[in-house]
């Protein structure tokens, strides 16, 4: 008789879990366990994980993902540049842009990777990287602001988190919930390794890259930087690298990006301010 009550109460907990009541879920788990029914406790726990994995990833979990991904980015790109004035300058530009982004309420920090390739990356929770090679190609502060705007847009639009969330759902992952990072480090490692592979090797889908170009351009323009500057940078990079498809595993080709940026400038009525701050940029980056 008592067992029937336990089963009924536990089933109630199970259904409330599906409805989203975490406390009831835990009480149900405890009740089932105390009554000697570990399988039922496990079932309630499992449903909780499945339902929980459908909710968005919060900043605390995002921060763990971002930090672990940052470790891998720094390791694979040979460390970071140790020039405090230069790092401070790049971070000031990033903060100026991020403060008027669609997600200004999280910390953003930029590190310069000690690498000659021309690249930039953004991991969740505001971990942003630009390579020394990219900085050498940039000619003024407005171009730098556009590059950083693109990366900030990846963070504000939660592009990497979307990919992680989708892959978890497709794989039916339950116990690999990111909150289990400390109790299930192997699952956490799988999640991070997959996300790093997507970021550094395969690239995000081209739609996300185009979206980051468009939104980042608006962020930089809100601060007052000349929106035409990004067109200038992309055009020079096209001259340097061409539009060869083999080079564009991770991004749409430059011609498509330039067209999309020009369309954004017209469509969003972004005003050409003429503010590119070339002199300040040259002064601050002369040791790049």
């Amino acid at each position: 008789m008592r067992n029937n009550h336990v089963v009924t109460a536990s089933l109630l907990a199970l259904s409330l879990t599906v409805a989203g009541c975490a406390e009831v879920q835990r009480a149900g788990e405890d009740l089932a366990r105390q009554s000697g029914n570990p399988r039922l406790a496990g079932a309630i726990h499992g449903v909780g994980n499945v339902v929980g994995s459908l909710f968005p990833i919060g900043y605390e979990e995002e921060s763990s993902i971002g930090q672990a991904m940052a470790l891998q980015v720094v390791a694979r790109y040979g460390g970071v540049v140790d020039q405090p004035e230069l790092v401070r300058y790049v971070n000031l530009v990033a903060r100026a842009v991020a403060n008027t982004s669609d997600r200004p309420d999280i910390p953003y920090r930029v590190a310069i990777l000690e690498h000659e390739s021309i690249n930039a990356f953004a991991a969740p929770a505001g971990y942003i990287f630009v390579t020394r090679g990219l900085l050498k190609q940039v000619r003024n502060e407005a171009e730098l602001a556009a590059v950083l705007g693109h990366e900030i847009a990846h963070v504000s639009q939660k592009h990497i988190l979307d990919i992680i969330q989708r892959s978890k759902r497709l794989a039916g992952v339950t116990e690999a919930g990111l909150s289990y990072a400390t109790s299930n480090p192997a699952a956490f490692k799988n999640v991070i390794d997959g996300a790093v592979k997507k970021l550094l090797d395969e690239g995000l889908d081209q739609g996300k890259e185009m979206e980051a170009d468009t939104i980042g351009e608006v962020f930089a323009a809100r601060v007052g930087y000349d929106p035409e500057a990004y067109v200038g940078l992309l055009t020079r990079l096209r001259e340097l690298k061409g539009d060869d498809r083999a080079l564009f595993k991770t991004h749409p080709n430059f011609t498509a990006r330039i067209e999309a940026v020009q369309k954004t400038i017209q469509g969003k009525h972004l005003i050409s301010t003429g503010v590119i701050l070339q002199e300040r940029f040259s002064r601050m980056t002369k040791r790049v």
């Binding site: 930090q67 470790l71 971070n91 909150s179 400390t182 480090p185």
Partner: protein
């Protein structure tokens, strides 16, 4: 003969309420689209700061002039704000309530996986990940420093002022 005239009084009062209420209901609202923003006495960056607002705050539009919007806050304070720091649509927020519920259902221990902004040290999850993947001490230190990196809002404001950016545009 005076009775019918008195009947008009409540009707006129009702219409007045409707009109003023209607104006109130139709007042334009903008939202702060920047981490923080200053309300100024006038419509230039040289005017005195009369108040501070933060991301997502709703402001009632009182007037507009060029790149500046005159607004009234929920507490009744009035001032001018640079229009690029406002948005006509309410910021969507970060789904924090839903995210917290999701995390609690996944059974996570937030304190174990949290690195608060500016805190020194990698969090437990990242430290474990670094151990399993053999990340060097030098690279751990680099990410540690990156996590702790902070720039004060006043420094950013000074940077904008020096560059003639945002509301400091010349």
């Amino acid at each position: 003969m005076t009775q019918p005239r008195r009947n008009w009084i409540p009707l006129v009062a009702f219409c007045a309420v409707l009109v003023t209420g209607g104006v109130e209901a139709w007042a334009e609202t903008v939202y702060v689209q920047a981490k923080t923003a200053q309300l100024r006495l006038g419509k230039t960056s040289l005017d005195a700061v009369v108040g501070n607002v933060k991301y997502g705050d709703a402001l009632e539009v009182v007037g507009r002039d060029g790149s500046w919007v005159e607004v009234k806050t929920a507490t009744g304070a009035k001032g001018w704000i640079f229009s690029n720091k406002t948005s006509s649509t309410k910021p969507s927020g970060t789904n924090d309530a839903l995210a917290r519920l999701g995390q609690s259902m996944r059974g996570g221990d937030a304190s174990a996986t949290t690195a608060s902004a500016g805190a020194r040290g990698l969090d437990k999850a990242s430290e474990g990940y670094a151990d399993r993947t053999g990340v060097s001490a030098r690279d751990r230190e680099a990410v540690d420093r990156m996590t702790a990196y902070q720039i004060a809002d006043q420094e950013v404001e000074e940077f904008l002022r020096e560059g003639g950016l945002g509301e400091y545009a010349k």
